[in-house]
Amino acid sequence: DVKVTQSSRYLVKRTGEKVFLECVQDMDHENMFWYRQDPGLGLRLIYFSYDVKMKEKGDIPEGYSVSREKKERFSLILESASTNQTSMYLCASSLEGSIQYFGAGTRLSVL
């Protein structure tokens, strides 16, 4: 089975802090994704990566950056957390094509 692991289930941070969300997949997938999930809005793509050190902006990249130094790891970075970034963050990976495998999510609260 594909396993996508997000390092934290719950995080509480203060406004202005730098926040790192980590995601690791164990199936040698090329593609990795970061989404945020908000009630009534579904999932919105923040960034994705199709190879090591390669990244592309998704639909809502403002206020976020990403890092992919190794194939299995994809990090989402909030340079200066704000209260409107309080959300559920989901990481996903895929080998090719559209079938994405998701982690359990990180619920981030910014106070």
Binding site: Y50, G58, L90, A92, G97, S98, I99, F102, G105
Partner: protein, 114 residues
Amino acid sequence: AQSVTQLDSQVPVFEEAPVELRCNYSSSVSVYLFWYVQYPNQGLQLLLKYLSGSTLVKGINGFEAEFNKSQTSFHLRKPSVHISDTAEYFCAVSALSNDYKLSFGAGTTVTVRA
């Protein structure tokens, strides 16, 4: 670009009753279609997918969906639900030419009552 509309945000249903979750999509190109399920406090899990071939697609846990190109719909059905089907369900679409990028609907919360 592709977009997805899930027509019902909440669907309450009694145990052993049938359920249908409606999904319409918009796209100027051919698409792949998906249904994902999210159980409480978990990530998303693929229920079923339409890539090509038969328009009636069967998935896990007794779910099925029918692709209707003329109506741009991909409705999800189950003939008899269980309490354990209580979850949020997401319809998603990707373009054949850009198949790694999914667009999701807003989700439908199904609550199954005894």
